[in-house]
Point group: C2
Chain length 343, copies 2
DNA sequence: GCCTCCTATGGGAGCGCTCCCAACAATATG
DNA sequence: CATATTGTTGGGAGCGCTCCCATAGGAGGC
């Protein structure tokens, strides 16, 4: 097997120096005649610069890391992460960077992976997502010189770059919509209370309810993001005879809808359902889900752009990007309005 | 900002040379006294070796790439890829390597990503999956010196390393099971015919049917892996009044079950349903799905192990690993057997 | 016609590591 | 007591690139 070509080899073939080839590759100033000749040699030989050598010399790897802690089981069953990865991936492709994925299982390897993430010369920066309250990861990242942005709202939001959606306002809008339909016995299925999305959606919903003079009283159950947990939560809630329910994720709402169907109660006639995410294709459920739509893909893309700007040093003071949500009204809430915007 | 520490700095602090520190880090022979002293300095300074420098000098990056072409839309809605990534990720963590994800959108960036995948000094090897028949990617990879293994069955299986499940045998078993239940008007919902899984599952099913003296005649529809496509396919199929159906993926089977439910036909009484994958949690459907279970996570783990052995040079002659599947009998096939193994 | 300035190019230095060989000390062997 | 052997350590060379400065011409200004 022949030795890999390097800049010097290409230069020799084209009758120029290493430096000139480097300029052609990286877009420096080269006379057009020379450039043509070098490019011909590159095309002919299939030369590609060595990424590690480049990283070492330029002190930049062209790789960004995506860190998802506690990525066990259910995580990948929720289309949320798929969408997020898709958004992040398409943005990294666009800026010609490579995406490295750090998935933590639980278990002892966790700490070794954390330290791998901040290995110098591996990635230029990191996007951290799906952290829970009190997760030591973010503090740990903050203690290093590795640039990073958080997707979601970390505990100490002030000191980090983050991208999030307005969970609170979205949930509040759901409450107001339900109240506007004349529902008076609202129920709530929350997401885990150790996640910022879980907390914000719960608080936003309760806040909206309060504004409308309503309350969930004890019609509240916590789910774990899974469809099955939504079903179980709803089954328990039905004993309280709610006339409406806000489910903190699409996935759980699909389960809730099943529980409702199985109990013989009619949605939307007897109970209005509004969910959060807008990720599950509407036609997948009957009735079609009314939900607070969050722009997952955009969040991912934006996180990449923010990170690259942190890496380049263009952004230095912590910035908090918040995307608005949009209520897509469909049949499950029993609104007599025609099918909503995303119909 | 202080300059990053390097081996030399650590050595100076510990009163030894660069080489000795390197031996401590990489597990070479060092006297225990020296080792202790060096490790103390490392712990105290938080020194971590520079990945790019290491890659350059050792000609190995510790990164493996996962390439998923045509990764648009539906891809991530199917839990299959989540599971596969989970398996691959846990295996790379185990061998202390990093996972780089190459997702291709369609569009012009495709070719630039392909060439990025084979950039020297970026990854040590690549796992390629979700290719379609005639995909130029595999040929392209074969033309480079980049080690790679394919998940699935490529066109020219003979010349590459690959890991697959026995789609054909699994589908055949499904056919035989249906025939054994006394069903005589079987129908088939296939996966896309430009994928090896789609082809193998179709052929295996037809083969099993033939063995039992049965045929699908024109009770056959092609889906695109999505739940919605399964529903539409089933709706069309119902006009032919099949008494059983093999759906080539769980996801599509969920859709098929819905179409059946909506038509007022009773599953399993009037129609038996068997699917392929075993990925959707059984309790998610009513009746619970009988399916041919494929060990997705193991496939991912095995792909990593095979790849590392190709990278190290331990494996040189193309190898074709095939995992068996297992039929998990539940309620949707109407078998009067008690709930199956995975119940 | 001389000096300046700019453009195009070459080559040294160095990024931080691994690999290898040489050097040395301490011990074992004849 | 000389020599072989083992265990431990140091340092040179080199991985392939980028960055920067030096240099050589050619164009332009006076």
């Amino acid at each position: 097997m022949a030795r890999r070509l390097n800049l010097e080899d290409v230069g020799r073939r084209a009758g120029v120096s290493r430096s000139t080839v480097s300029r052609v590759v990286n877009g420096g100033h080269v006379s057009s005649e020379t450039k043509r000749r070098v490019e011909a040699v590159i095309a002919e030989t299939g030369y590609r610069p060595h990424a590690a050598a480049r990283s070492l010399a330029s002190n930049s790897t062209g790789v960004i890391g995506l860190v998802i802690p506690s990525a066990a089981g259910t995580l990948f069953d929720d289309p949320y992460f798929g969408r997020l990865i898709l958004g992040i991936s398409s943005a990294t492709n666009e800026v010609d960077m490579t995406l490295a994925l750090f998935l933590f299982g639980d278990g002892p390897d966790e700490s070794s992976i954390i330290s791998r993430v901040v290995t110098p010369g591996l990635v230029d920066g990191v996007i951290v997502t799906a952290t829970t309250r009190g997760d030591p990861l973010i503090d740990h990242m903050g203690g290093t010189s590795m640039p990073f942005v958080v997707v979601g709202r970390p505990d100490s939001a002030g000191s980090t770059f983050c991208v999030d959606v307005d969970n609170r306002a979205g949930a509040r809008a759901a409450a107001l919509h339900l109240a506007g339909l004349g529902r008076t016995r609202p129920a709530l299925i929350t997401a885990p209370s150790n996640t910022s999305a879980g907390i914000d959606r719960r608080n936003g919903f309760l806040e909206g309810l309060a504004e409308a003079g309503l309350s969930v009283e004890d019609r509240i159950q916590e789910g774990d993001w899974s469809q099955e947990s939504g079903r179980r939560a709803m089954a328990r809630l039905l004993a309280e005879q709610p006339d409406s329910v806000f489910v903190s994720s699409d996935r759980m709402a699909v389960g809730a809808l099943r529980a409702i169907g199985e109990s013989g109660i009619n949605c939307p006639r007897d109970i209005s359902v509004v969910s959060f995410d807008g990720i599950v294709p509407p036609d997948l459920t009957t009735p079609r889900l009314t939900s607070v739509v969050q722009p997952v893909t955009e969040v991912g893309e934006r996180a990449v752009r923010l990170l690259t700007s942190v890496i380049s040093g263009a952004s230095t003071t912590p910035e908090h990007v918040v995307f608005p949500t949009e209520l897509a009204v469909r049949e499950s809430c029993g609104s007599n309005a025609p099918a909503g915007p995303a119909a």
